[in-house]
Each structure stands twice: as C-alpha cells, then as structure tokens.
Point group: D2
Chain length 368, copies 4
C-alpha cells in the first residue's frame, strides 16, 4: 500500500485533533501517508493505529522520531507540550506541523522557530482557516476588489465548551476561550488582510457561564488595529448553546460578505427520530438541527495537510508558518494584557518572562 513518492508522516497525539489529522491524510492520499502514531497513555496509540490502519505505534514520541523513514510529524498534543516536541522533532531532522496555538510563551515561540531554521526543517503552523474553502473564496473576492478597500474583518467561533477537560485548567491551556479559539480569529484577520503589522489590541473578557469549572475567560471580544488602517474583530465563546458557530464577515467601503461555515452550509432539518451526526458540538439531532456535510473538507483540514506534504516535497512553499504562529501568540499576550488593564495595548508588546497569556488578565481588578 506504501508508495515511495508519498511523504511519510508520524502523528503525535491520539485524541480529537489527531483523529482529524489521520482522517485528513486519508481523504487526500496522493501526497502523504501516515505510517506511525505516538501517544503516552498505554493502549491509546495502538487503538488509534488500528482504527486508522497505521502500521506502527509508540508510547514515547521520541522513539517514533528515531524511525528513519518518517519525514514529517504532526503535533496534536496539549499546548504546553508543543515547544518541547517541536524542538525534539527538529533535532531528529523531521519537518513539523504544529497545532494551534503555537506554544505557551514568547521564549518558546522564538526557540521553536530558531531551532527548526537551524536544523533545516520546516515549521508549519496548523491554522486550517487559511485553507477553509469558503474563507478562501471570501479572500479571493476581496483580492478581486469586490469590497474596495477592506476596513474591517470579523471572525468568530463559538460553542458550549471545549472537547477535552484540560482546556478548563489554565495551567495546561494558558488561557480560556480566547486562547483556545481566538488564536484562529487573530490568525484569520492577519492572513486575510495580507499580514500587515499589528498596532494595537483592545480586549474585553468575562467568565459569564462556566465560572464553576474554570478561572479562564468563556466569552471574549478582541479588537485589533492593523498598520494598514483596518480593524480586526474576533469574537469567541464557550457559552453558546445549540451547536458550533464559525463565521467570518468582510467589510469594505465597497461592499461586504459573510461566510458562515455551519448554518450557512447546512441542510435545515426537522427530525422526530434523530440521525447519526449533525455537526461538531451539536447537542442533539432531534427536532430542528443544522447538519453539515463533509465537515473536514469544508474546514480545509485535508487541503491543509496536503499542502504541508507538498511543502516537504518542495512543490509549494508554506502558507502557514511558525512566524504566523508567533504573531498570533504575541497578540494573545497583548489581548489578555488589554483585558487586565482595561485599556488598549500597543505593539510591539514585550511578554518575555510571562509564563502564560492569561496571567496578564487574572488578578487584575477590572470588572466583568
């Protein structure tokens, strides 16, 4: 089944996001194949490997990194582990695809980028929104001039809470919903506008609904000022019932568009009896529901992994890099600082010595 031309991939992780990686490679099989998986909990790697028909499995990812044929690893582990794993992989000469957010501290971000560069491996940042077909279409329209000068870009992601309990623990996550999903929105605005410098951020956070479970923020509004005069607005929530919202708005002096990934693509459905699956985070399939089709493809995951494999082969150059992840990371620190200070924060923002973004908000006396 192995084809010599395809990039051999090892996945680190065996949960929600690792499944997405494995399934994505399966959906676009012409450029890469998953040959190994590593996960520390006994049994998890093997179970995952059998489910996805992956020939090799490991409990220690460092053991997997010794496999000589593996050319690229994807990291689908908790945020606090991203830096260590990336650096180990770089030392082993493997190209790295790292999930979002890039890491915990600015020092980690710099070290990840420097190590990969010095070891001659690619550090690719798994921001799938750069590959989401509906969002890509919006960007093509904007680049075609549909909206004239774009002065505001909005992106929001909302649902009723993360898919793994470690997100509630700010020591493992580094922050709440802004950290978990705001990183998508910040990256989106930055990418959509053509990567202009960030000038300032104004952020408003609250723990409105899940205060019994977390000290982290569960609803966030983050306003970004860019050097080109445009504004980004990022809205996130862990307090939205009824399924997932993932939506972007583009506003220009000459027009606007809305790209809604879920209800905007869905089949409006009423069912007395229910059915298999509607969409991520949907509470039920009885009554009215909003099933989507080909969810991974509509997010752009297979296209993203396909692109990364082609980058390894030198057929394309990376469209989502460690440097992108670093910009997002700096913005996350600045945003939590803005919420903590109850004031706008300007860039560049020096977050050296801070161990996680949310520390700049918690313990500050601002309301909400």
């Amino acid at each position: 089944m192995s084809s010599p031309g395809r990039v051999k991939v090892g996945i680190i992780g065996s949960q929600f996001q690792a499944d997405i990686h494995a399934e994505s490679f399966r959906l676009m099989p012409d450029e890469a194949e998953v040959v190994a998986v590593a996960s520390p909990t006994p049994g998890n790697a093997e179970t995952f490997a059998r489910k996805h028909r992956i020939p090799r499995w490991f409990t220690d990812y460092r053991r997997m990194l010794e496999e000589p044929d593996i050319e690229m690893v994807t990291i689908a582990a908790p945020n606090a582990l991203h830096a260590r794993m990336t650096i180990d992989a770089a030392h082993a000469g493997k190209h790295v695809v790292c999930e979002k957010p890039l890491c915990m501290t600015m020092e980690e971000a710099d070290l990840m980028i420097d190590t990969c560069r010095s070891k001659g491996v690619l550090l690719m940042y798994a921001e799938e929104l750069f590959f989401t077909p509906k969002y890509v279409k919006a960007k093509q329209m904007a680049d075609d001039g549909a909206f004239g000068r774009v002065y505001m870009v909005k992106q929001c992601e909302k649902h009723f809470g993360p898919h793994a309990p470690w997100f509630w623990d700010i020591n493992r996550s580094g922050g709440g919903v802004l950290m978990d999903m705001g990183c998508h929105g910040i990256a989106f605005c930055y990418w959509f506008l053509g990567r202009p410098n960030l000038q300032a951020v104004t952020c408003h956070l609250g723990t409105y609904v899940h205060g019994d479970k977390t000290r982290g923020d569960d609803d966030a509004i983050c306003i970004l000022d860019f050097a080109n005069g445009a504004r980004g607005v990022v809205e996130n929530s862990w307090a939205r019932r009824g399924g997932m919202l993932d939506r972007a708005e583009i506003h220009g002096e000459g027009g606007h568009t809305v790209a809604d990934l879920h209800m905007g693509n869905a089949l409006p459905t009423y069912s007395e009896y229910g059915y298999g699956y509607a969409v991520e985070k949907a509470p039920t399939t009885k009554g009215w529901s909003w099933p989507v089709f080909e969810e991974l493809w509509n997010y752009g995951f297979p296209q993203e992994m396909h692109h990364f494999a082609r980058c390894v082969r030198g057929k394309e150059s990376p469209q989502a890099t460690g440097e992108d992840g670093r910009v997002v990371q700096e913005a996350l620190f600045a945003a939590y600082a803005s919420a903590g200070r109850a004031a706008r924060v300007n860039f560049p923002f020096d977050a050296r010595g801070v161990s996680k973004p949310i520390d700049l908000w918690l313990g500050h006396p601002s309301p909400a």
Copy 2:
C-alpha cells in the same frame, strides 16, 4: 373628521422623521390626530401639512405652542434644538415626545427632565426599539426564561450614511454614527436587560470611509458592562453598502436568538426591471434586493406614538422616558471618552461642562 376623545398633536419638523411621525399617527388613528405642524423653512410646513392633510401649519413652533387645543408635541428637529423646544413646550403645558438622542449636554438633559416634571407634563423619549414587534418578542422570550440568565445583548444598526447632511457636521450632530445610531443600541441593551445600572463602557471608534465628509466616527463598537453582570455590545456603521442592517442578538447560558429587522423579514427578490421601494437606504431595486413590508409597523413607530397618546390620556404609563434618554446620553459621553482615552471608562461619568460627546474623542492621540 376630528373626534373629541383623541389627543391633539402638533409636530415640530418637516423632514424624514417628521414624516414618520405623521404617518404613524395615520396608521393607528384611534387615540390621536395630528392637527398642526411647525417648520422654520418657508413653505415646508405648508407642504408637509397638505401632504398629510393636517389643518394648521406654522413657521415658528412657539406660535404653534400657543394653540390651546394641542396637548402633545413631537420634536423631529436636529439634536441641538431638542432642549430648547422641549422646555418651551413644557412651559406651554404641552406633553413632549422628543426624538433621539435626547439632547447635546448633560446639563440640557437635566433641565429638560426637571422642567417637564415641574410643569406637570410628560417627557417621552422616542426610542422606537422599545416598541419594535420583533424585539419585543425577543424580550418576551427572554422574560419567559427561554435563554436562562442572559449574559450578553447585542444590537447593531448600519447603513451607508445619514439621511440628512447635517449629521456630517459634528457641531450640529454632537457626534458621528455612535451618536446617530448608537443611542438606539445603548437604549436597547439597557431596556432589554431591565434597566440595570451601567458600570463601564469600552468603545472603539474610527473614521474609515467618510473622512472626506466628516470628522465624526463612521464605524463604532461599544461594549457596556452592566451591574447585573451582563454585557451589552453595540455596533454601528455608516460604511455599510447594500441597504440597512438593524439586528439584535440575545445570548444566555441557556440559549440565544437573533432578531433581524430587514433581511430577516424581507422577501428575497430578483428583478430585472426594478420596482417602487425596497427598504430604507437600499441603493436599487434591480438585481437581488431585500424588500420589507409595512416598514413603519415593523419598526414599531405607530405603536410607539399610539402608546404615547394613551399615556397622555392616562391609559398607560410611559415606557420610554426622559430618564431613559438621560442614561443613553451619559453613556454616549462615556463611550466617546473611552475611545479618546483608549481605555475603559467607569460610571457614573461626569460630563458636565462638555458641550458635545464627540469632543471627548477628537483631538486625542489614539490610533484609528
């Protein structure tokens, strides 16, 4: 045609909003009738009177206030004139319906409220959103417990610029789009949540598109913290092409709803040839368009005027008062101050001695 039981009304103004007043009384004729109109530009009052079949017209509103049978006047004049007219009407013993925003300064607001109270007339604040049927339904649902504890209310109004040129002149308007339309959104959040005290406001303003025409803000995001722990978000723009947007979102820990007044009620239409009228501020009726039906009724204007007339008769008590307008006015000052300081501003906010809200933003060094 006159019926003795109906409240006799005089309108001050002859433009856009005065038309809405006259038409609103015509649509619900059982409680009130318009018997006079006053407008200073020669000919305007008469033209208006003939169009709406109003028997009396005046160029000087003070002359109209001398008519003994008039019981209530509605003020549809530029913002800077609201206080003077209200006070004159109160002295003449007439009940007052004043358009939004209430006035220019906090001193004016206080004087309007005090004068009406001491003269024994009602000061009613023409915030039609308190009567908008779709918004009223959302509030009923919230009050029924549909969404559990409501933690966030959003309201936005957007179009491509005001209906009269004086809005571009900040000396006559007192501010830009936040002043023009943000007053609706602030009032909406306050009313929807049951009039909790305002604690703080965080506001981000910019002049993104119309800098050639105005020094005022043309796109605004205003975040309100209320004493009950809920957040209001008000978004306004004069930079939206393609017609009007007027929309509210309600978010609770137990659910959410969206009330979109225009596209959300419209008839999705494609026309090669065009037709009479789609909706306020729509650029064309050719191609795809979003015509609404019974626009005034769906805004709640006739219901609002009907209610005010019943208040004059003592059949109901005012649901939108000068005090409401004063709260909104204070929030407008605080919001411009927040944008000017690039920081959250806490309540109560002392704006005495400031001649118009936008002065607290203009001339400050913050970006955008």
Copy 3:
C-alpha cells in the same frame, strides 16, 4: 365602552377561528366592536364572551340574529354549516363574513350569493391572504413590474394536521388538506394574477401519513391553468412536522420573489428551557425553534376584519367576496375530479348534484 360609529359584530363560533376573529377586532378597534357571540355547546359561548369581554352570548345563533343592533356576523363554524348560517343572517338583514371554504356544494354557493344580494347585505369571504402584509407587498411589486410578465404563482400551506378533529371526517369537512388549505392557495393565485378565468386544473392527491385517521387527502399538489397564460401551483400538506409553513413564490420572465410568512419572519432561536409560544402548530419551544411575532397581524386578520367593517360603513368596497369563494369552490370540485380521473379537468366544471368535493376523488381507481 361602546362607540356609536363602530360596526356592531356578532361572532358565530367559539373555537380556534372564532378566537382569531375576536382578537382581530380587538387589535384594530376603531371601526368595529364585537357585541355578541353564539355557540351551540352549552357554556362555550359564555366562556368565550368572558374571555374576550363580549357583553352578550347565545347558544342559538338564530337568537343572536334577532338582536337589532348587530350589523355584521362572522361565521367561524364547520364548513357544512356555512350556507345555512349565511342565509339565515341575510334574512335577518345582517352583513356576513363567512370563513373559508365558502360551503360544501355549488348549489349552496349560488344560493348564498343570491340570497345576500336579494336581501341587500354584503357577503364577504374571509380569505385573509388577500390582506397578508407580506403577500400584499409581493403583489405590489408584481404590479410595479418587478417581475415582468408573471407566468407562475405558487402558494403552499403545510403542517402536521388540522386543529380540530372534525377535519378528519370527510362528511363534515367535504375533503382533506386540499379542501382545508388548498382553498387558500387557489384563492391566492386567482387574486394575485388579477382574477383571470380558470381554464384547467391538474391535481395529484394522496393519503400518505394519516390513513389511520382519515379517508381524506393529506398531501396535495394542484396545478391551475389560467386564461392569461399563467400557471398557479398550490401545495398543501398535513404531513409536515416541525411547525407551520406558509409561503408564496412569484415567478416572472423578469424576476421572482419568495414570501415566507413564518421561518421567513422568525427569530432563529435556540432554547434549553423553552418559552411561551413559537408559532401555530409548532411542536415544542425547546431546542431550535422559529418563533414569529404578532402572528395575527402578519397574517392580515385584523386588517381583513377592519376592511370588512369599513365595507359595511360604505368606506371601502369588498376585496374578498362570495363570488371569489364560489370560484375557489368550483376549483376544489374540479381538482378532486382531476385527481379522481388522473387527468386534467377543464373549466367551466359542472359540479351540480355532487354533495362534497372529495366524492369526485374517492372510489376512483387511480394510484396513490
């Protein structure tokens, strides 16, 4: 409370539709007032009268017809009683508002029209779709030329079954869903197109879901050919879950529009806890739902009754007459005949001697 200028109304009936009549007069009180109600079941009339604050009640409607001050009666009784009640009212010198469908047989229709004419009273046909604001807007657009020549008009009404059990009994209803709701769609197409002659009808009926409860049709498609070359399409169902559908489409060579009365006006809502009321026939308010606002007004019921009262006063001339009801009735007979014959049926269609429309379908060997 009584005002001499208002038309005094008596309602015959005390169930679903009678409530709508009473509530409609209450919502637009300036032209008419309900002074009496009649319903044969002991206690019903009194309960209804107390609920709606109606001063007089009767168990025998003929007794109510003797009240000299009553000028207009509205008939909200089962179809089989319409003719008798109309004729009695005409003999008593009362104007008549008769609910849809007009009656059971063509002989009845002719007798109702002739009797009212000879007695000098108005026979008004309570087709509220002629007054539905969203549908009226669509017609205005068409009349403005928005769609060029209109070649097809569609209207559909669907829900999961009638609001009273007598509809399942074809001897009392005269037919199934086509009789119950198709009469609205037929009237709509006829009215929208400017009352051109009907040329032919092609109808396809089935009892797909409720065969255990009725011999009547529960899903119907009815295609009408008009003399002006346009086609009407009427779709009805008692087999639709999840709430009511009431929707019209207009198709011209120059464009098209869609008027959806419920989901098209609704507030898309998610609720964990539920709330008071969403819309007619909605199964629940938990989960996703589509609440409408001001349901009666959006159907046009108050406007319709207001219009009828003004007709009695001679201020307007009836826009929905017994003659309209007769056209619909003939079309219903022809439609059932078409389904029975499995063939198109041409107009004029002689249905004399047939005791109810559905007899022309039942007992015929055609499939489904």
Copy 4:
C-alpha cells in the same frame, strides 16, 4: 508525470461539460489521468488539450478510440450522438462514461446497454447528483431514519436557459428543459428512494418565456408515483433569472430536510465593484450576489469521475449505470406523453418507434 497505476482517459467533447470532466480529473488525480481529447471542429481539441495540458488530441473520436492505452472514454457531446459514440467505444474495448440524458430513443438505450455488456466494458451514466456531497448527506440522514418513512422527494434545477444554443433545437436535444434538467431530478428521486419501480407520471409543461427561441418546454413540473408508495416531484425551468437554483427536499412522516446547493452554501455578498465569478448562470457580480466556493466539488463531479476510474480498476462497483439512464429515459418519454395527453401515464411505458421524447407532447391540443 504519468503514473502507470492510473486509468488513462480520453474525453469526447471540448465544450462546457468536457471542461468539467477535465477539471474533475485534475482535482482528484490519484486514480485517473486524461491523456487524450477528441472534438470534430478544427482547432477545438488542440485548444482544449493545451488548456488542460492533455498530451494528445484528435478531430475524429474514432481515431482516438484506436489508442491502445486508453481504457475509459467520457462522452460530453450532444444527446443525439451518445448512442453512436458509446457503441463505437464499446467495440474498441473502452469503458464508457456517458453524459446525461443517456440517449434519444429507447432502442438506443437498449443497444448501448447490450453492446457494452457483450463487449465486457462498463457503461457508466454520468449523473453527478448521486455524488453531490449535500445530497449524499441527505440520503444518509434518510437512511439513518431521520425522517421516518419518506413519502415525497422533490428536486429542482432552474436557470435562465441552456449554456449552448443547440438545446433550443428540439431535433438535436430531443426536448426542452425537462429533457435537459428533468433527467437529473428523475434520477435523483429514483436513487434517493432506493430505485423502486416507477408506476406512473403526471407532467405539466409550458413554453412560457422563450417561445421566440424554441418549441421546447421551458418550465416543467413532473410528478412521479413509485411502487413503494412514495411520490417524486421534479421541477425545472429555463425561465429563472438571477442565477442557478439546484435544490432537493425530502419529506417523511417523521421530518424533512432541504438541500440547497447554491444559495444554501453561498456567501451572501454585496459588491459595488463586482468580482471574478459567483456561480454558474449568475448574471452579474455587482450588487447582491450569491457566490459559491469549489463549485465542482460541491456538485460532486470530481468524486464521480474518481469513482468511475475506481470502477474500471475493480475497486468499486458502479453506482450510476446505463440501466439507471434507461429508467430515466423511459420516464422522460412517459412524462412528455403525460403532458401531451393531459393525463397520468402508467408504467411500463412503451416508447418504441418514437424518435424523441418531446414528440409525444408537441402537436397535442392541451392548453399551455
């Protein structure tokens, strides 16, 4: 670039649909590659080949059939040529993918099927709706029991006229919009319901808008009765302005869903300036428009061709066959006969000796 394992494909045709074939193979390149194209007009094949980077081109498709390495041909030529080309390809030992509708006469259909079978090649019918992701999702939900027993399936396709002038000529097309697009809807209903036998068809046709250009029908409603008691409804039009409509509805006793391929996936957009491309048949990109993304993928074309290539390799068995095309062809004859007779037509329907479907409608005296 050539890979020995991939199926080598020759395309017959160089216009609209041939482009879709070539692009579809390019989008999913792992199973097949296009190595040749044939088109009779001088220059067309070469232009097409250069555009799509196809190495060989021919003006005579029979010459292309002599190429020994070609294993599969796709036919994207006018309907009247389908049978001849299929039979020639079968004699050359090539597997055949034939565009819709299958052919002109029932005799042709039988000969195509028999020849391919006897020559041991696959006859695959290019009905892409069997592969449309949104429609496939609807079918999965139905098969999961979401709607209980499905009693009605609707599918419609509408735009303002065909993409090539030969469709207006009934001698080349065999029929109007029912022939052009109704074949999709008939196939859809048959497939969705699990291929039950067709029992009867009731069809209503008209030439409402394009009578100056064609004798063919430009608006069609076709009602199908299936042996399992369900009803199919197929609506098609060449008279719809404002872009393409492609939409399915599924109705069961336990629920329903709607799958709208264009507006239902689109980005609601307003643009003063326009942009590259919105969707097939859209008149403009200025003003409001409904751009779709990844149009071919959302139709299922690449997935369809990928599947057909895998069938050639024996990895899958054909999901859309000549037999399916034959069922559709019989239904088209019966539908035109129903419109001609103004009556329901039962199956099986003997259409031998009739040279094209529309002959059974034209020349008949029925109205419209």
